[in-house]
């Protein structure tokens, strides 16, 4: 990797955790990130925290984006962070989106979720946040 001069794109694994099948948001965000130059892998529906972390490691992702609309975010988002700790992969950044009340956002950030985006967020805000977080691209 050190020999490479070109900027490697950041690899983002986007995943639907939990039981709900509302995939409108995750698909729109996935397309927008892809259009912004990121490498996006979408896992599909109903991923357990273990499955998400497995996939992230296999795909060599630097970022995991989680989407949920069922209200189980307080259980499942921290479970992904915990699983990353267990697998010694805490360098992978976790962010999330969905219907997440204000109070829960603070609690989730304390538990290691880097950022949360709620309904009405402009796609550009998510892209800007990633650019700031990964100024060097995926290098």
């Amino acid at each position: 990797m050190s020999a490479q001069t070109a900027v490697r794109p950041v690899r983002i694994l986007v995943a639907k955790v939990g039981l709900d099948g509302h995939d409108r948001g995750v698909k729109v965000v996935a397309r927008a990130l892809r259009d912004a130059g990121y490498e996006v892998i979408y896992t599909g529906l109903r991923q357990t925290p273990e499955m998400v972390v497995d996939a992230a490691l296999q795909e060599d992702a630097q970022v995991i984006g989680l989407s949920i609309h069922s209200g189980a975010h307080m259980t499942l988002f921290p479970a992904v962070v915990q699983e990353l700790k267990r697998r010694k992969a805490t360098d992978i950044v976790v962010f999330g989106g969905g219907i997440i009340p204000e109070d829960d956002i603070a609690a989730l950030k304390k538990k290691g979720v880097a950022e949360l985006f709620t309904p009405g967020t402009p796609l550009q805000d998510i892209v800007d946040w990633l650019r700031k977080r990964f100024p060097q691209g995926g290098n």
């Binding site: 709900d20 099948g21 409108r24 729109v28 069922s70 209200g71 189980a72 009340p101 309904p119 009405g120």
Partner: protein
């Protein structure tokens, strides 16, 4: 006369073209992208015989009396936490003048798994009420006479099980199945297309749907066996025409499947019902509802040879658009919902759910739920809109838009047929891609401010007061887990084992599964146990993940 009218139009046209136009970059097409003229006139009216309410093709309504005969049913979708909590909410809503019940189940129940399954963790009671067995269902309807109210149940993959639980609760209340009225969503095709709460592959899923339709035609004749739903298709991002076309195509696929089973069209078609979204583009929605009735009546008569008038009449429930609501300045949602509800009423809906202003944040509080119901009561009793049948019939604009949406739907039917029908089109990700494309296009329009959402991409405020929302007590999860485990400990295990074995054997054959499911439910087999028995035979479906 005619010459003068044309002259006036020409004068208007000249003046319009020379007058300044708003230059704000906002789209003038409908929210679905149908281009609109600035003015519609008599020239836009189609040349056809006058349509009348209660008469084929029912564009103007299925009842000759409109809402003069009876108002729409005010049916608020509701359910949260445990059966006991939800039972209290139902009694509260009924005491406040609600006229029918509508059950929202939690995610584990919708996905056919028990509360103590590992993947139910964190999900119990959040999106609706947790139901694991007949015991929970008995609590849910405790003190509510099932012979006197009608109930809608939003459940799909495990629909047959929940219907059997309802029948079994009624038995215990001394109400025969033949007296039960209500609706089962039971629409698995739109799950594959949009909402994605599928479990079995399409073929056995369709078998279960047809089993329930066939069973109810004989045993529960007043039950609406299926609510063919566009709501979820629209909420997933489709346009109005896609919502209409995909939903009616699903409807025809169910009709085909029932006919293939050997049923006669007029024996079941009158119990098919529909469920549409009422989005924020007011006139487009009214046109969609009107077009729905016309298309369905024509297809039922001309393609399926239905003769009973009731088979031709498209009846539908409406819910205002969840996706149109905003977490920002949520009080605005009251205004949005009122406008959407008005479109449903002007479009002739049979029943209506109005969303609560806080539903974009969580399940509604008592106060928000009551405000939403009051919005319907206000429409029904204050505004006078229910006094005239199809009040927008004959509007140059609404008639032209009705025709345009009908034309777009018919074009989709052709494409779906070319793909080999609904199920092959699902397997080819046709619907999923169409919907995702529309959703992305709309999002881009928002980003570019070619469409505005008040409070989101314009007219924002910086510091918003947080709204009080309904919180689900995390203790409930443990209690519900204990409850289902207690049911397993205290039931007649021999009867339960025998019932599940019989169900499994029947699933391997071709018998109608409803009597076997009913016996399993009566024996207090849990929902998860019944589903797992069927999964052993039917397998599960995994979707190809496409962005």
């Amino acid at each position: 006369m005619k010459v003068r009218a044309r002259d006036a139009k020409e004068v208007w046209k000249e003046e319009f073209e020379s007058s300044p136009s708003r230059d704000d970059g906002i789209e003038t097409s409908t929210i679905s992208g149908i281009p609109l003229k600035p003015l519609y006139t008599a020239d836009d009216l189609p040349k056809r015989e006058e349509e009348m309410p209660g008469l084929f093709p029912y564009t103007r309504g299925i009842h000759s009396g409109g809402y003069r005969g009876r108002l729409w049913t005010m049916r608020q979708f509701s359910g949260f936490a445990t059966a006991e909590e939800t039972n209290k909410r139902y009694k509260y809503l009924l005491a406040n003048g609600q006229t029918g019940l509508s059950v929202a189940f939690d995610m584990p129940t919708l996905m056919g798994q028990d509360s103590d399954a590992p993947t139910s963790r964190g999900e119990i009671g959040h999106c609706g009420v947790a139901i694991d067995s007949l015991a929970d269902m008995e609590t849910l309807f405790d003190g509510i006479p099932l012979g006197e109210i009608t109930t809608s149940m939003t459940i799909n993959s495990p629909a047959a099980i929940l219907l059997c639980m309802y029948i079994a609760v009624a038995e215990k209340q001394g109400v025969p199945a033949s007296a039960l009225g209500g609706t089962l969503q039971n629409d698995i095709l739109k799950e594959f297309i949009a909402q994605k709460e599928f479990i079995f592959p399409p073929e056995p899923s369709m078998r279960l749907v047809v089993d329930s339709i066939e069973y109810c035609a004989k045993e529960v004749p007043k039950w609406n066996t299926i609510s063919i739903s566009g709501y979820h298709i629209r909420e997933a991002g489709s346009t109005a025409a896609q919502e209409l076309a995909f939903t009616l195509a699903d409807g025809m696929a169910y009709v085909d499947a029932c006919i293939e089973r050997g049923m006669r069209i007029d024996d079941f078609a009158s119990r098919l019902s529909f469920f549409f979204d009422a989005h924020i583009d007011f006139f487009e929605e009214i046109a969609k509802f009107r077009a729905a009735r016309r298309i369905w009546a024509r297809w039922m008569r001309d393609r399926y040879g239905a003769q009973d008038e009731r088979s031709l009449k498209l009846r539908f429930h409406t819910q205002t658009a969840g996706v149109s609501l905003t977490a920002q300045q949520p009080e605005l949602n009251i205004a949005r919902t009122a406008i959407e509800a008005l479109s449903a009423v002007l479009g002739g809906t049979q029943s209506l759910h109005t969303n609560a202003m806080d539903e974009v944040l969580a399940l509604p509080t008592d106060k928000a739920a009551r405000l939403a119901l009051r919005t319907q009561q206000l429409l029904a009793y204050e505004t006078g809109v229910a006094n005239t049948i199809d009040p927008l019939g004959g509007s140059y604009f609404v008639e032209a838009l009705t025709d345009e949406i009908e034309r777009q739907a018919e074009a989709y039917f052709k494409r779906i047929e070319e793909l080999g029908g609904v199920i092959p089109a699902i397997e080819a990700s046709f619907f999923q891609k169409e919907i995702a494309d529309s959703a992305f296009k709309y999002q881009q329009e928002l980003e570019q401010k070619r469409r505005l959402m008040v409070g989101v991409n314009e007219f924002t405020v910086d510091d918003e007061e947080p709204m009080e929302i309904l919180r689900i007590d995390p203790k409930l999860e443990g209690e519900q887990v204990a409850r289902v485990q207690n049911v397993r400990r205290t039931r007649d295990q021999a009867r339960c084992t025998k019932a599940l074995a019989a169900l499994r054997k029947a699933a391997e054959g071709t018998d109608n599964l409803m009597p076997y499911i009913l016996e399993s439910v009566r024996a207090y087999a849990t929902e998860g146990e019944i589903m797992n028995t069927l999964i052993e035979v039917f397998g599960i479906y995994t979707e190809k993940a496409v962005i």
